[in-house]
């Protein structure tokens, strides 16, 4: 039986909120849907060999390119094999559950042993819509052996309706009038899908231990729970007060939270909405007990850094949605030549003297042997700041000034230069611990650039509220 082998989640460190009830997670200025997905995938694949993954389905409504696969860039950054199926699943809030369903079917059909699914979004809404939107990502590894939750049933409903949409080329999501949107869309379509699902499988509300339910906001979410006849204790918390509606990633992130609390034998009903509905039923297995060391949702939500206010958030968003054509400098052929070093953060290890070095060299820096190296990944290595400077250059946007430039010495050898992210600039010190994070870079020439930055370990932020 196919099902979920592993899960992961990523909630960006930064939070915005006038009051505790409206707090939401927002991506840093150097994050986008692709980097969020890589972070969630890294959590999902912790301790799992990358060579086992036969495919990557990348779900989002906010891909970095309109034409150019994001899944390939993500696969390079996650360091997956090259002989795999990569696909972007996009254009709907149901893209996350659709990708999950497609992965389950791929495995069931035998055309792949395990498929990685990521769902991530970084949406902007027009007017009041934006206040409820948050950013985040979830990832699942889907397979057919030793699953932690197996798929017991599924049902999909397709519904044509202009309730929430973003036109091609537009930056913000729009919606039609509220009453129409909810009464003709969400509140009508989702209950119908759940009803049809229960009829198909001869199940009822009492057979379900946990409901993972899409809701555009807290009020409609509560209303839907009542409509479907679930008791509040059967329903996975939707974190509207901590996370916000994370679009494509929302239901997958809630599923991660549900799996974190699940016991063997639990039945989780997943109900996603967007241009129709996807219903999935998962049954948790004994293997759930083996899951450990994940960031998942609980630890991710607990680790936070408050943004001082809307101005910074707006500056981040203005930058994220700015025209990549305005930046100059990058060459597609150079990037292609150096893609292992840029996206996978591969250096080399000398097979003669063992010296680890970044970027890759032709002749060893120590023993001078030529072309006798094996690839060496720095992406998962921890390091320490050997030295640093805070840059105040006039070309640095105000929201990113000062930028922190570091020289990092890695555990296990190797030294390299990186910008630092998700830090408090005046708390950076020589000798501080860092780990690596895949991020966007602010220079390009019609190209969206990605590279790695170092950052203080995420574990150094538990529950801290820092400006």
């Amino acid at each position: 039986m196919s099902g979920i082998l592993s899960y992961g989640a990523y909630v960006p460190l930064r939070r915005l909120g006038a009051g505790a009830r409206s707090e939401k997670a927002v991506a840093n200025w150097d994050e986008d849907s692709l980097t969020l997905a890589v972070a969630a995938a890294t959590d999902c694949l912790a301790g799992i060999g990358r060579d086992k993954v036969d495919g990557l389905y990348f779900a989002t409504t906010t891909p970095p390119y309109a034409e150019k696969l994001a899944a390939t860039t993500a696969a390079w950054a996650i360091d997956l094999r090259r002989d795999i199926l990569t696909a972007d699943v996009t254009d709907s809030l149901r893209a996350g559950t659709a990708a999950l369903k497609m992965a389950l079917d791929t495995v069931k059909a035998g055309s792949g042993r395990s498929i990685l699914v990521t769902a991530s979004d970084l949406r902007m809404g027009s007017g009041n819509l934006d206040g409820g939107f948050g950013d985040g990502a979830a990832a699942f590894l889907v397979g057919d052996k030793d699953v932690i939750a197996e798929i017991e049933g599924s049902y999909s409903l397709s519904n044509e309706l202009l309730d929430v949409w973003r036109a091609g080329g537009a930056k913000t999501v729009r919606s039609w009038e509220d009453r129409f949107v909810f009464e003709e869309g969400y509140l009508k379509v989702l209950p119908q899908a759940v009803k049809n699902f229960f009829e198909k499988y001869k199940l009822s509300v009492k057979d379900i231990d946990k409901l993972v339910l899409y809701g555009p906001d807290l009020r409609r979410h509560r209303q839907m729970v009542g409509e479907l006849g679930f008791k509040p204790e059967q329903v996975q918390d939707a974190f509207f007060d901590k996370l916000g509606n994370t679009g494509t990633a929302f239901v997958p992130m809630l599923l991660v939270a549900a799996l974190e609390d699940a016991k063997p034998g639990d039945r989780i009903l997943v109900a996603a909405y967007g241009d129709g509905a996807d219903i999935l039923l998962l049954k948790v297995t004994d293997k759930i007990k083996n899951v450990s060391g994940k960031w998942g949702m609980k630890r991710s939500l607990a680790s936070r850094m408050m943004l001082p206010g809307l101005a910074d958030y707006q500056a981040y968003r203005a930058f994220a949605s700015s025209d990549p054509e305005q930046f100059g400098g990058a060459s597609a052929s150079v990037i292609a030549r150096e893609r292992d070093e840029i996206y996978a953060l591969h250096g080399v290890k000398c097979l003669t003297c063992g010296t680890v070095q970044y970027p890759p060299q032709r002749i060893c820096t120590r023993c001078h042997t030529k072309d006798n190296f094996e690839p060496y990944s720095f992406a998962d290595k921890k390091g320490k700041v050997f030295t640093f400077t805070l840059k105040y250059g006039g070309d640095i946007p105000g929201f990113a000034r000062p930028m922190v430039d570091t020289m990092v010495d890695f555990e296990g050898g190797g030294r390299a230069l990186f910008g630092m992210t998700d830090m408090v600039a005046d708390k950076v010190t020589v000798g501080m611990d860092v780990e690596m994070s895949f991020r966007t870079l602010g220079a390009g020439g019609g190209i969206r650039n990605y590279f790695w930055r170092c950052m203080p370990p995420r574990s150094s932020w538990p529950g801290k509220e820092t400006k």
Partner: protein, 392 residues
């Protein structure tokens, strides 16, 4: 390997005023510098048999030949980042020492102020792999060394800033005594310490400015020098070392020294027969692109023990009237850094000091002087050292 010692003589030099020379082109400044040098050597421009021409911004040798109206003589364009001008001098020395030429010109020029530059930038990222961050400027490379120096030797930020301020104050003071300097005003330690941050921990007065300028030297075989003048100056040693990114590739590299400077100075000291640089050398023009650079260079050149530069700086050891005058002409700090010209501007000061013609900056009877350039950045640099001295 043979030493260059006493094979090449400097018989004439020229140096423009450095600064925002809005009214002069690169060609104008080369004409000014070369004319002064020919007049100084008592010879005609036509006697020059070959030219080594240092510049980072002009792409060919042609502007030099055209400006000076050299009639079909060989002109070699030389570029080695901040060591460009001394690289022109070094290769010109080899032209003389080989016996192929008798009289040659080494000239450097840079016209930076036509490019709208407010600070020393770095090599353009055009055509790169897209991993270039904002705020890439020369300051950050040397700021990394300053941060590391504090951590390595247990200096506090306040102690570091105060020491660096003393270096900037000294060089600005020397510059007030030099009519060719770009900046000719005193600054105070408070100004330096409290200046706006450029790249922490380095502030505005820790950095040198951007200027235009040209400087040149006419060289001849040492045995021919007397035909031109009695007070010629001899080349005693030349050193150049280029790093292979060891500081970035090898974690044991301490980042509180510049190995290229150490290696280049060893080459030059060996040629010149110098065993105890601090006591043998009277004055040094070194690459104070940033105050931290000058401080660390003191250790790299063997002017003081490792980790002791702050103490020597605080004691005034390197002041104009100190034991070993460093940057007596005001340094990059007062002159700015027209990249292709700076090295020969340094040589110009040593040359004038050896001749007793340095005016209010004149040191008593100097016999040995040193110039030093450092290109690129700590961890992967270009170190260049030249030793000049009186004839025996």
């Amino acid at each position: 390997m043979e030493s260059i010692k006493d094979k090449v003589a400097i018989i004439g030099m020229g140096c423009t005023k450095f600064g925002e020379n809005w009214e002069k082109s690169a060609e104008d400044m080369m004409v000014d510098a070369a004319s002064e040098a020919c007049q100084d050597a008592g010879m005609d421009m036509k006697e020059i048999q070959a030219v080594w021409f240092g510049t980072t911004r002009l792409n060919t040798a042609e502007p030099c030949a055209t400006a000076l109206k050299l009639d079909y003589v060989p002109v070699t364009r030389v570029e080695n980042l901040c060591a460009t001008a001394t690289e022109a001098l070094r290769n010109a020395c080899f032209g003389i020492a080989s016996g192929v030429y008798d009289v040659v010109l080494a000239i450097g020029v840079e016209k930076l102020k036509d490019q709208g530059m407010g600070g020393l930038g770095t090599v353009s990222g055009a055509g790169g792999n897209g991993t270039l961050e904002w705020g890439m400027a020369a300051a950050m490379f040397f700021a990394r060394m300053a941060t590391r120096y504090m951590a390595h030797y247990g200096l506090t930020y306040e102690e570091l800033k105060q020491t660096l301020a003393k270096i900037s104050v000294k060089n600005h003071h020397n510059g007030t005594l030099n009519p060719r300097a770009h900046f000719q005003r005193e600054i105070t330690e408070e100004m330096a310490i409290n200046a706006p941050m450029v790249s922490w921990p380095l502030g505005l007065y820790d950095a040198c400015g951007v200027s235009d300028g040209s400087a040149c030297a006419i060289l001849c075989r040492a045995d021919l020098a007397k035909k031109f003048r009695d007070d010629y100056v001899l080349v005693k040693g030349l050193g150049l070392a280029v790093g292979a990114r060891q500081g970035y590739l090898q974690p044991e590299y301490d980042m509180v020294h510049m190995e290229e400077t150490v290696r280049a100075s060893k080459q030059a000291y060996d040629m010149a027969g110098i065993k105890d640089p601090f006591n043998e050398i009277d004055l040094a023009e070194v690459h104070d692109c940033f105050s931290i650079t000058e401080m660390v260079i003191m250790e790299d050149l063997g002017f003081c023990p490792r980790g002791k530069a702050p103490e020597y700086v605080r004691n005034g050891t390197f002041a104009l009237d100190g034991k070993l005058a460093v940057n007596p002409d005001g340094g990059l700090k007062s002159f700015g850094h027209p990249i292709g010209a700076s090295g020969l501007r340094m040589v110009y000061e040593i040359y004038k000091q050896m001749q007793g013609k340095a005016g209010p900056r004149q040191r008593k009877n100097p016999t040995l002087g040193l110039t030093h350039n450092f290109g690129m950045n700590p961890g992967s640099g270009i170190g260049s050292v030249t030793i000049l001295g009186q004839r025996d």
